[in-house]
Symmetry: C2
Subunit: 606 residues, 2 copies
C-alpha cells in the first residue's frame, strides 16, 4: 500500500523552494502574526467579553492555521520565541475551553446561547483547523497538551452531533473538520475520530439543513450524498476540502464508491474547471465553481485557499491511485496559482489570483453601489477582513516537502523535483535519498540513494511525457538503484505555447506560454499597455535571461503589435510593428505596482 | 444656410425601410399602445388619485413619444381611430393641467406637494416629450389645442425656472426639454422658448445641484459648463439628447463655442466610445459612457434610446457642418444598433442591444442577489418597467425620411439611400426628387429630378469612399442635374472584414463582417455553439443568399473550428476542421429563440 512520506522526513536543502521556505520563515510568519495582532485576532483568544473588538466567526481558524505553520517550522528548527507565542495561545485555549470541551471565540464571547444553531457560522470549520494545529504541534514538539484539549473538543462534537443529535444542523456549512478528524485519528490511533469524520461525510447531502438564502445547497456540496457527487460544485474551498476528506476516507476505509466519486470529481475539475495556473473557482458569486469551460480571466476568483485545497485533494488521490496526473496538477498549482498568492517580499498576499488585469476597468464604473464587473484586486495586501489565505500559506510552505515522495514497501515514488534530502525506510533499510537539481531553472534532476537499494518511480512531468523515450507506468519511469547509485534526468524546459480546449470561450484564439511547470505572463510594465493586441510569433525562439528576483529566467520573444490608429473601425490590415515581448513567471505578477497583466496571448501566424 | 428637409416632404415608397415603416404602422404602434394600456400608462392620464395604479415618474414621456409617433403616421395617412385615441389623451391633459399650466402625472397624483423639488424625477423630461408630441401633432393635423396647452406649460416652466427661480434645482436631471423647446420655438415662432432652451443649456454644469447618491455630476452632464464639455460622459441617452440641444442652439444662435464643443463631443464618441453597430453606452452602471476604447461585447449596455439619440445628434451636426461623417454614423446606427431593437414581428423590443450572447453565462451565478456579470437580456420583450425604448421606435421609424436630405438654396444633399419621392423647393422651383434603389440589398442607387434643375451632393458612404474615383467634398460627390436627368451610382457591397482600433481590448484579434452599411453576426442556431472558436478564412469569398425574412442576403464563408478535445490544455496544434460559417444581419439576431451570438470573429491566416 502506498504511504505518505511525511514532510518531516524530507528537507528541502536548496533551490527554488528553499528560498520560499526561508522567506516564509524569515518574513511571512511574523508578518501574518503582526497583522493578526493588529486586527485583534490574537488577543481574541483571551475571550474577554468586555473587549471592544468582537471576534469574527472565522478568527479561530485564521490563528489556528498560523499555529499549524509554526509547528512545521519548529519541527525543522527550534525557535523559542515562536514556540512561546504558540504556548501562550494554547494557554488561552485551555483557559477558555468549556468544561464540556467546547471552544470557539465567537460563540464564547458574542453569542454564547447560539452554539450549533447556525450552520453557516464556521464552528466546525474552526474546530477542524484547531485540531490540525494541535496534531502538527504535537508531532513537532511531542507536547500533548494542545492535542488533548482538541481530543476533548472532538469528543464533545461527537456527543452533540453523532450521539445526542441535539444540534440545529448535522453537517458543517464549511467543510474542514472531516479531514482534520482523520489527522486526529492518525495522531491518536483513536478510531472514533475516523468514524466521526465518516459520519459527517455520510450525512452530507442526505437532508435539507440550514441553507443560506443566497445560494442553493450545492454551494456547500449538500445537494447530493457524497458518493453521488461527480461534478465539482459550489464554494471552491469548501469543495476541495470536502473532496480531500472523501479521499482520506476512501483510502482508509477501502471505500470504492467514495474513491470513484473522488476520481470523477477530480476529472471534472481538471477537464472543465481549472485555470492553466491550477487555480479553481471561476465566480465571485459564492466563490464558486461554475459550469464547464467557464474560465474568465479578468474576473476569475481563483482563491489562494482553493489552490492549496486542490493540492490537498490531489495529494490524497496520489495515495489512492498512483497516477502521475495528480502530481502534475500539484506541480501546476505550486509554481503558479498557489505561489502567485505571496509577494516577493513575503509580506503581502492575494486572496484572488486573476489571470488578467486591465487596470482601467477597475475605475470604469464610478458608482460605489453597483459595478458591471466584479474584478479581483490588482495588488497583494497584508491582511484581509476574511484573512484565510495568508495563514494557509504559512502552514503550506513549510510542509511542502511532504509532496515530494510517496512510497510502498519496495519503491519510492518521486513526484516533485526539489533539491532535498530524505531519510526513509525502504524494504527494511534506512535509505537516504538525495535530489540535486536547480529545477525548474533548468531541467536537470539527479537522484541518488545511499544506505541501501531502492526502486525509484520517477514522475515524468506531463509536458515532457510525450517525448520521453523510456517506458512509463501511470506517468512514472522506473529505475532500480543500488546503494550509492544516482540517476539523472533532464526535462526539456523549452518554452512552449499552450492552448485551451476549444470550448473555453474566454481563451479562444489565444495561447499561454509555459516553460516546464511554470506559466508565464506579460505585464504592461515591460510591454506597454494593451497586451491583448500583442501577437507572439509562432515558431520564434524564446530567449531566456536569468532573473535573481524571480529565481527563474525571464523570457523574450519576437512579436507584433498593430500600429496605432485614429480610427475606431477600419478595414483589416497587415500594418504592424515588430516588437519584442517580455514575459515573467506568472507567480511574480503585480510586484512592481499596478500594471496590466495577461496570461493568454494572441499568436501570429495561424 | 443648410436646412432640414422635413420627413413630411419625403415619402419612402418601397424597399427595406418601407417594409419597416409598414411594420410599425401595422403592428408596432398598436402593440405598444396595448402594452401601455395593460400597464396603466394610458389610464394614468385621467389622473385619478383614487386609482390603485400609481403613475411612475416617466410614464408621461412613454405615452408622449407614442403620441408623437402617431402624429407622424397621421401626417402620412389619416387614421380616425388613432387620431381619436390621441385626442382622448389630449382631453385628459387639458382636463388635468393646472390653471398655471403645469402637467405631470406623478406630481399630480402621487406627490402634489413635491413639484420641482427632485431633480431626478424626470418632470422636465416628461414636459419635453409632451411638447415634442404637441408640435408633431400640430404639424400633422393643423390642430392647435395640444400645442397651446404645451405652450402654456412652457410659459409656466419659464416663469418658475428662469424668472421666479423658486425651484429646488435649475436644470433637468434628464435632458430632453432643451431640444423640445427648440422645436416649440420653430413651431410657434416664439423666441422665448429658444431662450429658455439656452437658459437650461447655459446653466448646466455651473453649480452643484441635486446629485443622486449613486453617481457623480457627470452622470447627467453637469460636471462642466456645456461649452467646456469635450468628452462624452455619463448616462448615454441624457448625453446625446443634451448634445443634440447644444447643436440646435449652436446652429440657431451661431454659437461657435457650442459648435466646437459639439464637434469634439461627437469625435470623442465616434473615435473612442461607439460600438461597430453604432450603439453607445458601455456600462450597465449609470447606463453610461465609460473610458475610451472600453467596448465590451458581452456586457454592452447600448440602449436603443441612446442609438436614436445619437442619430438626433448626428443629424443636427450635419446641418451645422455638411460633413458626410455624420451621415455615415446615422447609416451605421439605422441598419444595426437601432434596428436590432425591434423584433421581426414588430411586437417586441430590446432595451440593451448586446454584441455578444453566451447563454450559459446567464445562469452561471445561481444567486439571485449577486452576479459577477451584469448581462443584457437575450430576448426582446413586449414592454419594460422603464419602457422608454418601444415608443421611441414608434416615433422614430415613421419620421425616418427626414434623415435622407438636407438642402441649401441651390443644392440638395443626399445623405441616405432609400426608395423615395420628395417634393422640394430648390432655387425657387418645385422639384421632385426620386430615388430608385434596393439599397442595401444591392448597391445601385438612381436619383432623378423632375420639375427643375438641381445640384445634387451625394454622400459616398465611408466604406466606398476609398475606392470612389470622382472628386469628393466632405465626403459628397457633386452632380448637376437638369429637369428629367437621372444619375446612377453603384456602391460595392462585397462583404468585408473590419477590425477595431488596437486599443479596443475586447475586440483584439477579431474582425467584424460588414456588407455595405450592415454589420453581420453569427448565431449558434446556424453555426453550433462556441462561436468564439470559429475562424473565418481570410480572403475567402462570401456567398450571398437572399433572405425574404431579413430583406437582405445571408452570408456564408469558409471557416475553421478546432477539433473537439478532451484535454483542457494542450500544446498548440493545427488540427482543425473546415466548416462553413453562416452570418445573418446583426439587427435580426435573437429572432429564433435564445442562441449564442457574436459580432467579432477570429480570422484564420493572419
Amino acid at each position: 500500500m502506498i504511504q505518505r512520506v511525511d514532510y518531516s522526513k524530507v528537507s528541502i536543502t536548496g533551490g527554488f523552494w528553499r528560498q520560499k521556505q526561508d522567506l516564509v520563515r524569515d518574513v511571512t510568519v511574523q508578518a501574518v502574526y503582526d497583522r493578526f495582532k493588529d486586527t485583534g485576532r490574537i488577543d481574541a483568544f483571551r475571550c474577554d467579553i468586555n473587549s471592544e473588538i468582537k471576534p469574527h466567526i472565522f478568527w479561530d481558524s485564521d490563528v489556528a492555521k498560523w499555529m499549524e505553520g509554526v509547528a512545521y517550522l519548529l519541527r525543522e528548527q527550534p525557535d523559542d520565541a515562536l514556540q512561546a507565542t504558540v504556548e501562550a495561545l494554547i494557554d488561552c485555549i485551555e483557559e477558555n475551553q468549556g468544561e464540556d470541551g467546547y471552544f470557539n471565540l465567537y460563540y464564547t464571547v458574542v453569542e454564547p446561547e447560539g452554539r450549533y444553531t447556525n450552520r453557516d457560522c464556521h464552528e466546525l470549520y474552526c474546530a477542524g483547523h484547531l485540531m490540525e494545529a494541535a496534531v502538527a504541534y504535537y508531532e513537532a514538539t511531542g507536547k500533548r497538551r494542545f492535542l488533548d484539549l482538541m481530543c476533548k473538543y472532538a469528543d464533545y462534537i461527537e456527543r452533540r452531533f453523532k450521539i445526542d443529535r441535539d444540534t440545529a444542523f448535522v453537517t458543517p456549512g464549511h467543510e474542514e473538520i472531516e479531514l482534520a478528524l482523520v489527522r486526529l485519528y492518525e495522531a491518536t490511533g483513536e478510531r472514533r475520530y475516523l468514524e466521526l469524520s465518516r459520519f459527517f461525510v455520510d450525512e452530507r447531502g442526505t437532508r435539507a439543513e440550514g441553507l443560506t438564502d443566497w445560494s442553493e445547497s450545492r454551494y456547500h456540496q449538500s445537494h447530493l450524498p457524497a458518493r453521488e457527487q461527480f461534478t465539482a460544485e459550489g464554494h471552491a474551498v469548501r469543495a476541495v476540502y470536502f473532496y480531500s476528506a472523501m479521499a482520506d476516507l476512501a483510502l482508509r476505509l477501502q471505500d470504492e464508491a467514495l474513491k470513484t466519486a473522488c476520481e470523477r470529481l477530480f476529472e471534472d475539475i481538471i477537464r472543465h474547471k481549472m485555470y492553466v495556473t491550477g487555480g479553481v473557482g471561476s465566480s465571485f458569486v459564492g466563490e464558486a465553481f461554475t459550469m464547464p469551460y467557464d474560465l474568465p480571466n479578468l474576473i476569475s476568483y481563483t482563491e489562494s485557499c482553493a489552490a492549496i485545497g486542490l493540492v490537498f485533494f490531489a495529494q490524497r488521490m496520489l495515495l489512492l491511485t498512483n497516477d502521475a496526473k495528480y502530481a502534475d496538477v500539484i506541480e501546476r498549482i505550486l509554481y503558479n496559482g498557489f505561489l502567485s498568492a505571496l509577494s516577493l517580499d513575503g509580506k503581502a498576499f492575494f486572496y484572488c489570483n486573476p489571470l488578467e488585469i486591465i487596470p482601467a476597468l477597475h475605475t470604469r464604473d464610478r458608482s460605489a453601489k453597483q459595478k458591471s464587473l466584479t474584478l479581483p484586486q490588482m495588488q497583494r495586501q497584508e491582511v484581509f477582513e476574511c484573512s484565510c489565505c495568508p495563514p494557509n500559506i504559512v502552514r503550506f510552505v513549510p510542509s511542502l516537502s511532504g509532496l515530494i515522495y510517496t512510497q510502498d514497501e519496495t519503491s519510492l515514488y518521486v513526484h516533485q523535483f526539489m533539491e532535498s534530502r530524505a531519510t526513509l525506510s525502504i524494504g527494511g533499510q534506512s535509505v537516504t535519498v538525495e535530489q540535486k537539481t536547480n529545477y525548474p531553472t533548468d531541467g536537470r534532476v539527479s537522484i541518488g540513494v545511499t544506505g541501501g537499494a531502492a526502486t525509484l518511480r520517477v514522475r515524468i512531468p506531463a509536458y515532457a511525457r510525450a517525448t520521453y523515450e523510456g517506458k512509463l507506468e501511470n506517468g512514472y519511469a522506473t529505475f532500480h538503484l543500488m546503494d550509492g547509485d544516482e540517476i539523472t534526468l533532464t526535462f526539456d524546459l523549452t518554452p512552449r505555447l499552450t492552448e485551451a480546449n476549444p470550448n473555453v470561450f474566454f481563451d479562444a484564439g489565444r495561447c499561454a506560454v509555459e516553460r516546464g511547470p511554470v506559466v508565464y505572463c506579460m505585464e504592461a510594465v515591460d510591454n506597454g499597455a494593451n497586451l491583448r493586441d500583442i501577437r507572439l510569433c509562432r515558431g520564434a525562439a524564446f530567449e531566456e535571461a536569468w532573473s535573481e528576483t524571480y529565481g527563474l529566467p525571464i523570457l523574450s520573444v519576437a512579436a507584433f503589435r498593430r500600429k496605432a490608429s485614429k480610427d475606431l473601425y477600419a478595414p483589416i490590415s497587415d500594418e504592424r510593428e515588430a516588437i519584442t515581448a517580455h514575459l515573467i513567471p506568472y507567480y511574480a505578477f503585480a510586484n512592481r505596482g499596478i500594471s496590466e497583466m495577461q496570461v493568454w496571448h494572441l499568436v501570429e501566424g495561424r
